[in-house]
Symmetry: C2
Subunit: 366 residues, 2 copies
């Protein structure tokens, strides 16, 4: 097991990464002794890991309340949050209780937001069981639900007490979801760490094969990189926005095709290729680097082209994104591998061209 600390002053917390650590009582004991733990999970994860977490919590002397949600992104709505709060109230959870998120990004977003608003805020622990959640959504304190008019439009910044990332749990993850998680790993390397990107170029097949040692390194390094950014800009007033590399295009893809048909990581993968293309067209990035980005994304088994969607539809969808300040589209661009920049002066013609270069037909021609 390896550990790191997210430096957020009085909200600082540890991230533990390793194979088989999910059931280690010692990791939970400091937070749970003599308390009630409300475990929020879903119907897919519960049969796999809930019993092990129960045993660990029992060893900590915690009272346990189970709350099992439906699986899937559509669970991120008011009704589910209300059900979590209702179950906690029915079980008489008081302000000293701890919410535990056991599952992927959806469970973490819902459980974290429930913890943020339950009786105006109780602590929570993340036990992410998908790669996407381990390398991205469980770190940084973003929680929330969707609104009919936009994804993640309702939520809170609420930092966990601890994150326990067991790469052993990735063995039960469908291959497609593992690949989707790798997209965010690539993103962290692209915007922050050239040598990590080189490591990925060497080790991408080990990651796809589920090698525990490679996964531990990738998760830990991703968390370190993200934690550094979060510590510098907890509430996304500036720097943190670079972590949205590929996400402006990616969110447009997800919204354009309807949430759920593309996985978030898949949309981000194609979005990163578009953002690299855009960077080159804006004169910021060497075209050979775009090819390196495209190549690694393809080797990860991720899409390098977007869906059939008109460039104008992308632009329309991107202007309602919540990172768009005052109606302008702010893009995260690359200057080189490992160095990103925020730009709100990009000519929309360049964006159209980047989208066209990543259209299904352009990809077929390559």
């Amino acid at each position: 097991m390896q550990s790191l600390r997210v430096a957020l002053g009085e909200r600082a917390y540890p991230i533990h990464v390793g194979a088989g650590i999910l059931g280690e009582a010692a990791l939970y004991a400091p937070h749970l002794e003599g308390r009630t733990a409300a475990i929020v999970t879903n119907a897919v994860v519960a049969p796999l890991y809930l019993a092990r977490l129960h045993a660990a919590f029992a060893a900590c002397g915690a009272r346990v309340v189970d709350i099992t949600l439906e699986d899937g992104e559509q669970a991120k709505r008011w009704e589910t949050l209300d059900a979590i709060v209702g179950a906690m109230l029915a079980a008489r959870c008081d302000r000293r209780c701890v919410v535990v998120a056991l599952g992927g990004g959806v469970v973490g977003d819902l459980a974290g937001f429930a913890a943020a608003v339950y009786q105006r805020g109780v602590p929570f622990i993340q036990v992410p069981t998908t790669l996407l959640a381990q390398v991205d959504s469980s770190v940084g304190g973003k929680t929330g639900i969707n609104h009919a008019l936009g994804k993640n439009m309702i939520g809170a910044f609420h930092q966990p007490l601890a994150v326990i990332a067991d790469v052993g749990s990735l063995a039960t993850l469908p291959a497609r979801e593992l690949r989707a998680g790798i997209a965010e790993v690539i993103k962290h390397a692209l915007v922050l760490d050239a040598s990590f990107f080189e490591w990925l170029e060497t080790n991408i097949e080990r990651l796809r094969a589920g090698d525990a040692e490679a996964l531990t390194h990738a998760v830990l390094r991703s968390c370190e990189l993200k934690a550094g950014v979060v510590a510098a800009d907890e509430r996304e007033s500036g720097l943190r926005a670079i972590l949205n590399f590929g996400h402006t295009f990616g969110h447009a893809i997800e919204a354009g095709v309807g949430y759920g048909s593309w996985l978030h990581g898949e949309a981000v993968a194609a979005g990163m290729v578009m953002a690299a293309e855009l960077s080159a067209r804006a004169g910021a990035l060497d075209p050979s680097t775009v090819a390196r980005v495209r190549s690694l994304v393809a080797r990860a088994g991720l899409p390098v082209a977007g869906p059939r969607l008109a460039p104008e539809r992308y632009l329309e969808l991107m202007t309602v994104d919540k990172k768009a300040a005052a109606g302008r589209i702010r893009f995260v661009t690359l200057a080189s591998i490992g160095r990103a920049a925020l730009r709100d002066d990009i000519d929309l013609a360049a964006a159209r061209a980047a989208i066209a270069a990543c259209s299904p037909s352009a990809a077929a021609a390559q």
Copy 2:
């Protein structure tokens, strides 16, 4: 106009109190210039004050979005919050927008919570138009909605940028609601300031008559007292709980008779008399002081007796209150006028006796 500052470090904010200040653009300008202001109000308050606020905001160069809710406590539910968020998204409010709460406690709780969770948090300004909101709910950052299983069970601590309390707006307030607000003024004096209590004993009739000078003093002093407590204990981990004096009994009254039939302030008024009786029975307070409390509450036109509700039903309702730690009932008691204490060692027999002493029949016999 008089002003004070709530000392919360980087979340510090001013409270301005005066007659006719609601339309003063200079008070809003520092927060609104070049931004979008989403004014959340209700159908009763809008015809009275919305036009004046609009004119003030126009003078600040702000774009204004109006969101008018239904009136009443039942509005504090998910659906209303969702409607506020939906209206803000439809109007393309970005993260730089400011939510403005124009109305009483319900509007403040809803608008504040919407601001806390809209795109993970945007700032807000309180423009309270009821006495209860001016002296209590607009100060301290508590926001939230109700759950079917309990009041204010879902919410956030979210401090405003500023509070603009125009006592002129109390002229349009029904007399019953003015009296309900006076209950919280009395509470602040009782737990924190003996000389303010004496001032109230002298000036209670001026307050009930709506005298602007007396109201300005009462609102300002209440806010100062509450702000001092909030500054010392923002998230209610200790000291702040003394502001719940009368509320443990009061919440039981509201829940027992069904929310809405008693106003919150009325329930708190009877609850304060019960808490004073309890303090005397626990040996903490002189019986003659209980008589002073009862007398001032009665002169304020507020109930000194609870509804017809069995003592056991009170105890049952009080143990689910969110201030109850680990199943125990924690009471706020008085040691003398101006001095409160938290007690979780109170014999429930004393609580039963205090409730009985404030039953409708006991009141009739006095």
